[in-house]
Amino acid sequence: MQFHAFHLMPYRHLDFAEADQHRSYWVNLPNHMWDRSKGPSLYAEYIGQLVHAAECGFEGICVNEHHQTAYGLMPAPNLIASALIERTRGMDVKIAIIGRALPLVANPVAIAEEFAMLDNLSDGRIIAGFVRGIGCEYHSSMTNPIYSHERFHEAHDLIVQAWTKDGPFPFEGEHYNLNYVTLWPRPVQLPHPPVWIPSQGSGETIDWAAAPERKYPVIMAFSPTETVVKFHEAYRKAAAGYGYEASGDQLGWSTPVYVAETDELAAQEAAVHIEALFNHFFHIPTEYLFPPGYTSIRSFQAMMEFRKGLATEKQTLSDLLSRGNCIVGSPKTVAARIREVHERTGFRIMVPMIQFGTLPDDLVRKSTALFAAEVAPQLRGL
């Protein structure tokens, strides 16, 4: 099993009492709540935490993209990736950008170019991730969500061709039309940088990623354990349908993880911070999360019926633990939780979110070091 430390880089100094008065933490959260004096040190702290994870022995460190939200401060994740590449020069650590939101850009060649640059800057250490962006991103960028899937697939094809085909060549699509595609620079890795697909588990995405010409690892993010298991199984089934057996290296799980010396101490130290993530930063109304077209009408109706049954009260750490929305405990407990899912699905890409909500620097570093020293070694041979 391989371990990749993931970070959202939230604005952890947020005044939740005020932010909760607003409609959402996304899209149109007033930014007078941003303290200009805290921005520089916050980025330094978060980049330092990812570099620390690399120093502790994680195989990879991961960033992602979100816009206009206190939930994550990386509208341009490749800028952070570039800084991480320099800070980890000479180290055998992957830099995973999981991912860039393809449908939001006017010319996806720009994304192919940025990744090609990063691949050169890192001498082949990057993992490229592709996402559609969450629904909120379609409100903030005004990209038409009806074409989200179409643009994602077409942009993906364009980027992979730009990486792999000799240019110049023309690209003739529905959404993107270019007379001349010829990348300068070309990526280092052959046939192209590895591609990971972070997902909330849409069946369509799993079928697409598992196709034999792609075999992209899917990283299940933020889901209760049973959902993660279900979608790992769906991936295996899709692969079987294509006539091959999926490897554990195609199955990933990303979830907030906190390790402390004992279960009690871990719960005590993590509770308020993990609750901040789920009860505040995740404050997203349905209309923001699922603009029309982001999902099919049928999935939207099914989802609304499902959500009707959900409690809207604040969730406590024990609620979250009982559903498996996060892993919190001693090294023994944390290793057991990961091993349990591995035994059920065979997944081999573990992506712990090392910082979540308001978790401060000292606790992030303590948990990261404990994970690397006492959890990962127990599981690496799986």
Binding site: M142, T143, N144, I146, Y288, P291, P292, G293
Partner: protein
């Protein structure tokens, strides 16, 4: 005017119904295959043909207005392709596509030149059609149309509003808003409402509810134009009416007090009277 027959969903022979039948005064729902779409349209009344293009969501409340308008007119009210229970054709990408479809429909039903009445997104479609083929329109009545913007006055963001906010943002009358929220909806009704919302997204997400091209070509609206606008419209605030009257100095503006975004639903008889009187003058 003959007695109105009960409404019936009559699967019909398109060939038999493509000609306008001014003798027919019964209210019927017809269907017609056009451009790969099974268009369903409501038709009633006798007199000058009036093509009614619906709002993106009239909350099932357009009928009293249509009944009033059918007193003296041959009213044709299609369901938009891609909306409600009508499938989304591959060719439907922009308001221009919808406009060209309605030019096809006018020709197929042989009702042109026609008086067009369009509400909200339907008003936008009417204007887009009329700038393309001005000679097919005798008069143009726009009920709080989308299509032009007013700088500094954004449209209400119906896509971030919750369903209750949408109802309250649509109707000035709180009772009417509550009534549409309380009306029974089957799973199929909900799917049809979602289908309309998805189609509205397809056509109007960005640029949001206006067309730069239409903005440049309003001088091709050569038939008399009548704007009907609710004073309390929260989706297309009344300030946007000025963009239309600035572009069309001869247009008539009828403001409707105590009225939200769907004047024809909120005040059906009063609005039908205004529309009928304008059509009579223009005829």
């Amino acid at each position: 005017m003959q007695t109105r027959a009960p409404r019936a969903n009559v699967p019909s022979n398109p060939a038999a119904e493509t000609g306008a039948n001014v003798e027919e005064c019964v209210e019927r729902t017809h269907s017609l295959a056009l451009k790969g779409v099974d268009v369903s349209y409501w038709r009633a009344g006798a007199g000058a043909p009036v093509l009614y293009l619906d709002a993106e969501d009239s909350y099932g409340g357009r009928e009293p207005f249509l009944h009033a308008l059918a007193q003296g007119h041959d009213v044709v009210a299609p369901e938009h392709p891609g909306f409600g229970r009508t499938a989304t054709p591959d060719w439907l990408k922009t308001m221009g596509d919808l406009a060209l479809f309605y030019l096809e429909l006018i020709e197929a039903l042989n009702i042109g030149p026609v008086h067009v009445v369009g509400a909200s997104l339907g008003g936008w479609a009417a204007a887009e059609a009329a700038v393309r083929s001005p000679h097919l329109f005798k008069s143009i009545t726009l009920l709080a149309p989308l299509g032009l913007r007013a700088l500094g006055t954004p449209f209400g963001d119906v896509f971030i509003w919750t369903p209750p906010e949408n109802a309250r943002g649509t109707f000035h009358s709180a009772e009417m808003a509550q009534a549409v929220l309380d009306r029974p909806m089957s799973r199929e009704d909900t799917a049809a409402a979602l289908q309309s919302r998805y189609a509205t997204t397809r056509l109007g997400w960005s640029p949001r509810f206006f067309s730069p091209e239409l903005t440049r070509w309003t001088d091709r609206l050569r038939a008399p134009v009548h704007l009907v606008w609710g004073d309390e419209d929260q989706i297309a605030p009344i300030a946007i009416a000025k963009s239309w009257t600035d572009a069309l100095p001869h247009a008539r503006l009828s403001r409707v007090p105590a009225c939200g975004h769907l004047p024809h639903v909120e005040h059906p008889q009063a609005v039908a009277d205004k529309v009928a009187s304008f059509i009579r003058e223009a005829h």
